[in-house]
Symmetry: none
Subunit: 301 residues, 2 copies
């Protein structure tokens, strides 16, 4: 069974500007999250800086690819005769390969930053990464042949093959990682669980977006013509913004909280205010010293 | 005997997008590895920073050249009438010179970063560089006339001449350097040996890619037409990614391990947790001081 054109022959002016604005939103979100994280990395303790830097690198790599996708999209769908006219596909291929090259680099790194922020014992960390990184690369590589094919059968087959490492990643994150999460400070356990859930929820958007062109092939009206393709682009783009920029900020937040718990000099911004809130002292006059009780013995570096 | 055109008259749409995506992958890998290394250089002890900075510079130089190659490739092989049409060589030369200029700068620097991370006695270091740097420059310079010639004989001759300094570099790395490697800390000896092996394995890809157009000339079907050229581009590009980006990250890793062994303040990220994991103390309360036993006597800089 042959699916509709992988890339539609034409898209409406509204569809064009929807994708165009989402791509620009992705550039802005990812580029400036990257800059924020680079500039803020010294606000976490040294042992968490690698997690923050890797988060910044992930957002930078994605921002680079969104610049490329944005320009490529404009070349592939040039403006018509009038503003309202459809944008007809030009002789320039719309290169879905950018997304897969991006994911090949960023998805393993997202797992690296997640594991890094947990600051697990070295052997445990190495064991987890040894399982997660190759599985995530396999997931991306197996998805690509299905993405570019026009036939339903191979698309479903490659999609299925790509799902196997995805399930394995979920298994590692939910079964093996759980033993490590309970050893994290109680203040961040909830955030880490939410982060893991977000990772699954967001990564679940990609296979759904991948399926849209198949729904098209199955003859569901809404997914006919160019709707399936536009939805796929919107799905991939929004998922990238949340799974990289928002996710990176959550990693930074966890690193900040853990840094503050371990070394008072990284925790002053909040502890002053928390102390002030309970003691009734002016919010900006508190001394960090009063929170010494929260510092575990011997954690001063 | 005359080889086929050094640059093919035309390449298929699939060949075009393969090279295009590999060039973009090279830009992303090299540029963001460079940024990662620049940002992370303070995480190694001062004596290893030059190795990390040189690694970052190597990746930066290569990223610059891949931007040039990417744009040049697009200009040399513009899109045809339709997306599926072959990309016909335009009036813009595809400049293989970018790669040789890149290698002329980066290959000697790759040897500099490799020697620098070993932190050898100054006289030994100077002696090794005095042998390796001119040999690597000679290897690149002798390869270039063979790269651009259309004749089999000169291509083989220059390739042979270029192999002489390559063999000499291997000799220095494997015979002379071995005496120094055994004096490295046992924790990094294995990584350094792997690094040296990777250097040989990866550098070996270049002469193989160089040979593809000769196989073409020898009448092997698969290497006919544009396949040989596309394979050569893919081989050079992937080899550059591994020999510069992945290699630079390995140098950083060695510098991190050695920094941690010599100065506890650079090793705290993991040692605290390792101590906690084995002693049963809360994972975030350990004092780095307990790991003093790991610091070799007299290694404080």
């Amino acid at each position: 069974m042959i699916l509709a054109q992988a890339v539609p022959e034409q898209i409406s002016a509204v569809q064009y500007s929807t994708v165009y604005n989402l791509l620009s939103l992705a550039i802005a979100s990812l580029l400036f999250t990257a800059i924020y994280l680079f500039v803020s990395m010294r606000r976490v303790a040294p042992r968490y800086r690698n997690a923050v830097v890797v988060s910044a690198i992930v957002c930078s790599i994605a921002a680079y690819h969104y610049f490329r996708i944005f320009n490529n999209f404009g070349d592939s769908f040039p403006a018509g005769e009038t503003i309202e006219a459809a944008h007809v596909l030009s002789n320039i291929e719309f290169n879905e390969g950018y997304r897969y090259v991006d994911w090949l680099l960023t998805v393993p790194l997202l797992l690296v930053e997640t594991i890094a922020v947990l600051a697990l014992p070295k052997a445990v960390q190495r064991g987890l990464l040894f399982k997660l990184v190759p599985a995530s690369a396999a997931m991306i590589i197996l998805g690509y042949p299905g993405e570019i094919t026009l036939e339903l059968g191979p698309r479903a087959l490659w999609g299925f093959l790509s799902t196997i490492p995805f399930i394995y990643i979920l298994y590692v994150l939910f079964v093996e990682l759980t033993r490590s999460i309970v050893r994290q400070p109680p203040e961040v356990q909830h955030t880490i669980r939410m982060l893991r859930l977000a990772l699954v929820g967001l990564w679940g958007v990609y296979p759904i977006a991948y399926l849209f062109p198949m729904l098209n092939g199955l003859g569901i009206d809404f997914f006919a013509s160019s709707n399936a393709w536009v939805l796929k682009q919107a799905g991939y783009t929004l998922a990238d913004i949340f799974a990289k920029a928002a996710f990176g900020l959550a990693i930074f937040k966890i690193a900040r909280v853990k840094s503050g718990l371990e070394d008072i000099s990284y925790g002053d911004e909040h502890t002053v205010d928390e102390g002030a809130a309970t003691s009734g002292v002016g919010a900006h006059g508190g001394s960090p010293a009063r929170d010494d009780s929260r510092v575990p013995a011997g954690s001063q570096s």
